[in-house]
Subunit: 244 residues, 2 copies
C-alpha cells in the first residue's frame, strides 16, 4: 500500500535491457459484468461507486490488478469480494484501453463476464454491498465506458450461448425443460416454439431425466433434468455443434 508499490514490477531496473527500461507501467483493472437469472428474467449486477471520480455513479464491479496476482485471479477475487461466491462461470470479454477512458488516471481494463444462478440469498446479499440487480430493460446510465462493456457482454453471451451450453450455468442443478426454454428466450428476447425447443435439446442427448417433477409452475408438473457433463464433453470432442 506504500509508495514503493509503483515500482516492484520492474525487477531489472538497472539491467541493460533497453526495451523493458523504457517501458511505462500503466494501471490495470479487472472488471466483471455479472449476469444472473432468477427463473424469470435475465439480470445484471451493478453497484454504486464509492470513490471519486464519478462517486455514486452506477458501475460494474472491478478492482485494480495487484502486482502479485494474475489478471484472471484478480477477476475471481473481485467476484468473490462482491458476491461471496466461488467457482462461478466466468470468461474474458475484452480489453478496454483507450487513453482517456478514465479521467482519474491512465487505466486499462480487462473485462470479464460471469453467470450466476439467482436465489433468495443472492438477491439479498447484493443489498449489503450497495449493489443491485437490474432487469435488462431497466439498466441505468453507467460510468466511464461500462455501458459499452455491458453491451459487448450481452452480445458475447448471446453468441456464446448458441454453441456452448452456458445457459446451464444460470440454472439450478435440477431444472425443467420449460425453465431452460424460458432462459434461452430471455437471452435472445424471442419466443421459441415449446415443442421444437424440447425436441432439439433432447436430441442433443446432454440431459439426464430424473424421476422427480417440479410442480411450481403447472398443475401437471414438469420433469426435472440434470445436465450431463460427461456426455457434453464427448460431444465436443466429436466436434458436434451445440446450437440452440
Amino acid at each position: 500500500m506504500e509508495q514503493q508499490n509503483f515500482m516492484p514490477v520492474l525487477m531489472k531496473k538497472n539491467s541493460t535491457n533497453f526495451f523493458y527500461q523504457a517501458a511505462s507501467p500503466i494501471l490495470v483493472a479487472a472488471d466483471c459484468i455479472i449476469f444472473g437469472f432468477d427463473r424469470e428474467e435475465l439480470k445484471l449486477l451493478l453497484f454504486k461507486r464509492k470513490v471519486e471520480p464519478f462517486k455514486d455513479g452506477w458501475s460494474v464491479i472491478g478492482s485494480f490488478v495487484e502486482p502479485n496476482e494474475g489478471v484472471n485471479e484478480a477477476a475471481v477475487r473481485v467476484l468473490g469480494e462482491y458476491t461471496g461466491l466461488e467457482n462461478i462461470f466466468m470468461e474474458p470479454l475484452g480489453c478496454y484501453g483507450e487513453v482517456g477512458r478514465d479521467p482519474g488516471a491512465r487505466v486499462i481494463s480487462q473485462a470479464f463476464f460471469a453467470l450466476i444462478r439467482l436465489g433468495e440469498e443472492e438477491t439479498q446479499k447484493a443489498q449489503t454491498h450497495q449493489a443491485h440487480w437490474f432487469g435488462l430493460e431497466s439498466i441505468p446510465p453507467l460510468i466511464l465506458d461500462h455501458g459499452h462493456m455491458v453491451h459487448d457482454a450481452l452480445e458475447k453471451l448471446r453468441r456464446k450461448a448458441r454453441y456452448r451450453p452456458i445457459g446451464f450455468e444460470l440454472l439450478p442443478e435440477k431444472f425443467t425443460i420449460p425453465q431452460l426454454k424460458k432462459l434461452y428466450d430471455a437471452i435472445y428476447q424471442r419466443e421459441s416454439d415449446r415443442r421444437n425447443f424440447r425436441k432439439k435439446i433432447l436430441s442433443m442427448d446432454v440431459l439426464k431425466k430424473l424421476d422427480e417433477k417440479d410442480k411450481s409452475t403447472s398443475r401437471k408438473g414438469a420433469f426435472l433434468y440434470k445436465f450431463d457433463q460427461i456426455r457434453y464433453k464427448e460431444m465436443i470432442e466429436k466436434g458436434i455443434d451445440f446450437v440452440l
Copy 2:
C-alpha cells in the same frame, strides 16, 4: 525514454483518491499474431527477438503500450512498424496476464490477431526485419506464452471465419472461387466438396462476378469475383448467418 516515464500515468498522485493511489502500475504489451495467405498456404509471421531475456528466440511481434496511446493504437503501430502495412484487418484475441509469464518483469499482454494477403513484397519485407513466414505445420518453439497465443489465435480464426467473411481479408481484391475454397480448406485443414462449396458461397449472394478470368491455375481459367461489402452489410442487418 527517461526514467520519468515510469510515473506520468498517475495524474492524481497526491489526491485523496485512496483506490487509485494504492494501485500498482504494470507493464502492458500489445502483441500481434499475424496470419498470411499466399494463395496456397496459411502462414504465420514470427520474428527473432532482439533483447534479453530469450534473445534470438522466435516470438510474435509486439511492443509495450505507451502512456499516450490506446491499446488498440499500440497494436496498429506495432503492425505498421513490422510490416509497413496499414488498414489491416485486426481484432483483439485476449489478455495474457499470469504473474510469472515474463521473467523480465510483470508484463500483461493484450494479444491481437491480424490477417494479411501475401504477395511477393510482403514475403521479401519480412526478411529485412529478421522476421519469417512459417507454414502452420512448421512453427518453431516460441518464447514465453506465445505458443499458447498462436494456438488461441488459430482457434479464434477458425471460429470467426465461419460466420464473418474474414477469409476475404486474406485474398486479393479479385479472386476465384477455387482460391476461396483453398483458403477455407487451409483454415479448417479439411477438403471440402468443390461443387457444394461453390453452391453455398454463391447462394449467400455476397460475391460480384467479373468478366475477367484467372488462368494461372488451369487451362480453362476461373472467373474472378469481388466481395460485395454492401450486400454483406445488408445480410448482417437482416440477421442472416454466414457459415462456411
